[in-house]
């Protein structure tokens, strides 16, 4: 231990130095607005116990990583979120990405698909294929996955309200490929609670939505054992403006809600918990993000062990996907985004992510072009192959600052988790608008800081250049609406209408029971019932959720 304590040093030496050359007029704080001290040293880790806090990779509490070998065994999965237009166009983009060295698929669906409208529905007008691919029926799913061996490539699907239906479609397509369902790997986001909080693609009220989610848990346990049934996501809450600690806390509060629902439905924690996955954002505050990832693993291990009495290490280890911060990208001087994304990607890797999506620099302007997507992928490859950071597991462990920050984020997160418990859990919080309000407060604060230039955003409120950026942008084929409508019309004529009707009636009947709906959904999509038709039936039975005003 040093003879001079940090405290003494601050009071004597540091203060003197600051009198001579004052600190920059800058914010020395974390995303939660907590002060960052000038220096971290051994005294910050005074009561700190290595084994309690860190341990070894692959061992409780998994702070240092979930696999014993981490990236020395295999690099993270480079998984670029993509999808636009119709199934055929998106299939072409996937083939391109796989050729470029991407190692997993990540499907973006368009808003009508996410909200349960077929492409020819009135509400879908203008939105078909815009933010993702339009999928209404098994026919589309077959086209989407054509030429992609589903037994070997894992697929992540960003889909929530309609997740069970899209999963049913994926399974049906895999069966048609002749794949062994026991080998099918991938993830459905399937996280409805954060939709109510931040992302907005909900359909039904919370209770029936939770039932669908636990149906997926239970069904996959037996039928699709390699599938990650849910990706409990902090990403969108972070994008909506919350802090790093809130991102963890709100996500874990949601996780607790799902787990409780599943246990309430008769499942055993250790039976389904190994298939729970998480999804974090990675924003710009470099070391805070690393600390966040590390803290997240420790918190989940504790929740699993202490709250749910888990016996299995596989249930205690938090596996997560990361996406760099979309909200940090700027439309001004868009190439600066390459720099931001590279730094964020490095954070995620130092934090031990299992898979990673790097944003393209042009995404603040439009859908990413192919060359921008390629550059985003190269970012990961450079980190993976050229920087050597994957050669050592958890290389920042022991850093006074990083460990202190990891502890602090954990502490802040627990405080929020407890506050939500006091309210009555995540769902009650959502209904009261608690999480929404907290997020908006943080978002507003960030906006104010930027406007007062206390927070510099390069190229936006400082180092501004007047030149107009007009890069080549990606446009979805405007004919896609018409093409889709024709496809659906033809499909509806071709398929066995009675079989569709029968399968929909079964779904309607099961809506008010607690029967597992998954087999019925698989049956319906195999009869070529569409996403919109199935959701239409459920809308009639369950009604629709309406947002809570929280501003």
């Amino acid at each position: 231990m040093p003879s001079k304590s940090n405290h003494e040093w601050l009071n004597a030496t540091y203060r003197k130095a600051v009198e001579r050359v004052p600190e920059r007029d800058a914010l020395f704080e974390s995303s939660s607005g907590e002060a960052v001290e000038p220096l971290y040293g051994p005294e910050h880790l005074a009561d700190w116990n290595y084994h309690e806090k860190l341990g070894y990779p692959g061992e409780y509490p998994f702070t240092r990583g979930v696999q014993p070998t981490m990236y020395r065994g295999r690099l993270w999965t480079m998984r670029q979120y993509a999808g636009f237009g119709d199934a055929e166009e998106s299939n072409r983009r996937y083939q391109f990405l796989l050729q470029q060295g991407q190692t997993g698929l990540s499907v973006a669906f368009d808003l009508p698909t996410q909200i349960g409208y077929d492409s020819d529905h009135m509400m879908a007008s203008g939105e078909v294929g815009k933010v993702g691919v339009a999928i209404s029926s098994l026919e589309d799913m077959e086209t989407l996955t054509s030429g992609i061996p589903l037994e070997r490539i894992t697929t992540s699907m960003t889909i929530n309200a309609t997740a069970p239906i899209l999963l049913a479609l994926y399974v049906a397509a895999a069966k048609k490929q002749g794949a062994d369902l026991r080998k099918i790997g991938g993830t459905t986001q399937n996280d409805i609670l954060k939709e109510y909080i931040a992302r907005g693609t909900y359909i039904f009220p919370p209770r029936p939505s939770l039932r669908l989610i636990t149906d997926v848990f239970a069904w996959c346990k037996d039928e699709l054992p390699e599938w990650n049934t849910i990706s409990i996501s902090g990403y969108h809450m972070r994008e909506a403006g919350c802090t790093a600690a809130q991102e963890l806390a709100f996500t874990f509060a949601n996780a607790i809600e799902y787990v409780d629902a599943a246990i309430g439905g008769g499942l055993e924690f250790d039976d389904f918990a190994p298939r729970l996955a998480f999804f974090w954002a990675c924003h710009s505050n470099f070391l805070e993000e690393v600390a966040k990832f590390r803290a997240s693993r420790r918190i989940w291990a504790r929740i699993a062990q202490e709250r749910y009495g888990s016996k299995s290490a596989r249930s205690q280890m938090l596996r997560f996907h990361t996406q760099t911060g979309g909200a940090t990208l700027t439309a001004q001087q868009p190439l600066n985004n390459v720099v931001r994304t590279a730094l964020q990607a490095l954070s995620a890797v130092l934090g031990g992510t299992q898979s990673l999506h790097t944003n393209s620099y042009d995404e603040a302007l439009a859908l990413p072009t192919e060359s921008a997507v390629e550059l985003a992928l190269r970012t990961q490859q450079i980190i993976g192959y050229e920087t050597g950071v994957g050669d050592v597991i958890d290389p920042l462990a022991g850093s006074y600052y990083v460990e202190a920050l990891t502890d602090r984020i954990e502490r802040e997160s627990w405080a929020y988790i407890e506050r939500i418990e006091d309210i009555g859990g995540a769902l009650v919080g959502i209904e009261q608008g608690y999480q929404q309000r907290e997020i908006q407060e943080s978002a507003y604060r960030l906006q104010r800081l930027a406007e007062q230039k206390q927070r510099v955003v390069v190229g936006v409120n400082e180092f501004v250049t007047e030149t107009v950026v007009n890069p080549e942008i990606m446009r979805v084929d405007p004919g896609v609406d018409r093409r889709r409508a024709a496809q659906l019309e033809a499909l509806r004529k071709r398929r066995d209408g009675d079989a569709v009707e029968r399968s929909l009636q079964k779904i309607r009947a099961s809506a008010s029971t607690d029967e597992n709906m998954m087999p019925l959904l698989v049956e319906a999509v195999e009869a070529y019932a569409t996403v919109g038709e199935i959701c239409g039936v459920l809308r009639e039975e369950w009604g629709e959720y309406r947002e809570v005003l929280t501003i």
Binding site: Q432, R546, E547, V548, L549, I551
Partner: protein
């Protein structure tokens, strides 16, 4: 659009004219006054309902549910939803349309959001006028929903014929501490979110309070409802209808309608007096001088207030002599 054109439009049920007319009334502009004068004789047809209660009681959801029920009964509905203005910026966020999304594309419904605009009573001074314009535009039912805090709950009673007080299960403490006045202005009471535990307790507590209140012929019914699912809402609308019928037919009805008119006049006059008195005081310069004296501890605030009032009275005395019309007093 000029006043005459607006009057014609409102009476013909033109929505755009109605919206613009409301803006004038809300702004208390000369056109607004003209409109109120022209339209008032054409009002009185609508059933007007005030919905009040504390924040989070579920008033907006209940308004939606009541509206849906009224629509099922074939009545058209105008809604005035009042939310608070920020005391600092005077701005407001008005979000009631969110909870009534399905109603906003129904041609039989007209929803207007209003900010309280920092009036002393909380409820916009002009809300009564807005209700009247909707009445004149031919809506069968006009519902006014208010911000749920403070004195405005009392004031809502002046804007509508039937006032519905909304509470929740578990609001025991709140019910206990309710001002007697509030109890007395409500003609219907409803325990919303009655699917939660404690609904019956709340009903019992309300009943106990009513027992000691100073009531006249009408005894407010106490109902239970779940606005979110619509449970109990038809019964609530029935109760409102009953009160409406009571006002029309019962011997006390006429007295109560006169009472309402009196309250409306007094409330408006009080607000106007208050505002004008302060304006006059500031204008005369008397206030600024008194502030100096009180701040300097040379005079006590109470005497200062009396002096101020004297100054106002003197100014008004002269003005009243010069132009003794009723309109002057109301300006």
């Amino acid at each position: 659009m000029q006043a005459a054109e607006l009057v014609e439009g409102v009476l013909a049920g033109n929505r755009r004219a109605l919206a613009r007319a409301i803006s004038h009334v809300e702004a208390d502009s000369p056109t607004g006054r003209e409109l109120q004068r022209a339209l008032y004789p054409r009002t009185g047809r609508a059933q007007t309902i005030g919905i009040t209660g504390s924040a989070g009681a579920g008033k907006s959801t209940l308004v939606g549910a009541v509206t849906r029920d009224e629509r099922r009964r074939g009545r058209t509905v105008g809604i005035v939803a009042v939310d608070p203005s920020s005391p600092f910026s005077h701005g407001a966020i008005l979000g009631d349309r969110i909870r009534m999304q399905d109603l906003t594309s129904d041609p039989g419904v007209f929803l207007r959001s209003m900010a309280s605009r920092g009036n002393l009573g909380g409820l916009s001074e002009t809300a009564t006028g807005v209700v009247d314009v909707m009445d004149a535009a031919g809506y069968d039912v006009v519902i006014i929903e208010t911000v749920g805090a403070g004195q405005d709950e009392v004031e809502v009673a002046t804007a509508a014929q039937t006032t519905v007080l909304v509470t929740n299960p578990g609001a025991g403490d709140e019910i206990q501490s309710m001002k007697a006045g509030l109890m007395e202005v409500a003609q219907v009471m409803v325990v919303n979110k009655a699917d939660l535990a404690g609904a019956d307790t709340a009903v019992t507590q309300l009943r106990a309070l009513l027992a000691i209140a100073d009531l006249r012929a009408w005894r407010p019914p106490i109902l239970k409802a779940v606005a979110k699912t619509g449970e109990g809402v038809p019964e609530l609308v029935d109760a409102i209808d009953e009160h409406h019928a009571y006002l029309r037919s019962h011997e006390h009805g006429d007295r109560e309608r006169r009472e309402l008119a009196r309250k409306q006049i007094v409330a408006l006059a009080r607000a106007a007096l208050h505002r004008q008195a302060l304006e006059t005081a500031e204008h005369s310069g008397a206030l600024a001088a008194l502030v100096d004296e009180v701040a300097g501890r040379r005079r006590d605030p109470r005497s200062a207030a009396e002096i101020l009032l004297g100054a106002v009275k003197r100014e008004w005395g002269e003005a009243a002599l010069a132009e003794p019309t009723p309109e002057n007093a109301a300006r």
